[in-house]
Point group: C2
């Protein structure tokens, strides 16, 4: 039961964007070097996040990415689902017919997992995560995103 590195990288990247209080576009290279993420890979992730409507791209020199919505209105669930697709733990979790004619005793287990997962991820928003990140960066001497 794993999420892929895409979610991990993507969430870190969006946290950085949320921490950029000056609202200037932040380049992929910036984020990649600061958070130690392979540049070309991160480019792909941000491209899909753009297609999913979570960030907007600013092309050309001094371009980069900006959050498409307020940081309070983007949850970790939004990020994960944008990158991983709909998160169903198994085939049989109530999202689609199970193939067992509804007489599947295991179904409530997977359904509960599914909804709880969504609920937990939905509790975290980028604004509060960014605040936490700024604190960390200040104490560890990392060049903070808003500079």
């Amino acid at each position: 039961m794993r999420l892929s590195a895409k979610s991990e990288y993507g969430l870190l990247a969006l946290i950085d964007l949320a921490a950029a209080v000056d609202r200037a576009p932040m380049s992929t290279r910036d984020i990649a070097t600061r958070r130690d993420i392979p540049l070309a890979f991160l480019e792909q992730l941000l491209a899909t996040l753009r297609r999913e409507g979570l960030v907007t791209a600013v092309r050309g020199a001094h371009g980069g990415f900006v959050l498409a919505r307020d940081a309070h209105d983007i949850s970790a669930l939004d990020v994960v689902e944008a990158l991983e697709g709909p998160l169903s733990p198994t085939v049989c979790d109530g999202q689609e017919p199970c193939g067992r004619g509804g007489a599947c005793a295991a179904e409530p287990v997977w359904m509960q997992v599914s909804t709880t997962l969504r609920e937990v991820l939905g509790r975290f928003d980028l604004a509060s995560l960014a605040q936490r990140q700024l604190l960390f960066d200040a104490t560890t001497g990392v060049t903070t995103p808003e500079e």
Copy 2:
């Protein structure tokens, strides 16, 4: 974010074992045909569940598998972890050092997911799931496991 079919099949199989009130060993073939699971694949799953101490095997003719413990004492979490290994949603969920020196703003997200997942799966025990299965089988005319 998916569990593999192993968990789905394995849980269904153990529910059947838990529903066998007469405590006679149930063959892999029985379960495979009743729940529509590929036989050879299910054999492998039950073999690992045996190695993990969840079931005991009875070899030879009229052999099969029996739950190793009382059905109340085996949770869906036990089954899933036995088949999938420890379930950490990402590298960075507090199980092992994150590589970011503890200054990872995303960590609480993955930690919360991890613990909640375990908590939810731990709530379901085989005894109650088996009871539900018996009800379903009775109404849909499936030959119930205890016959």
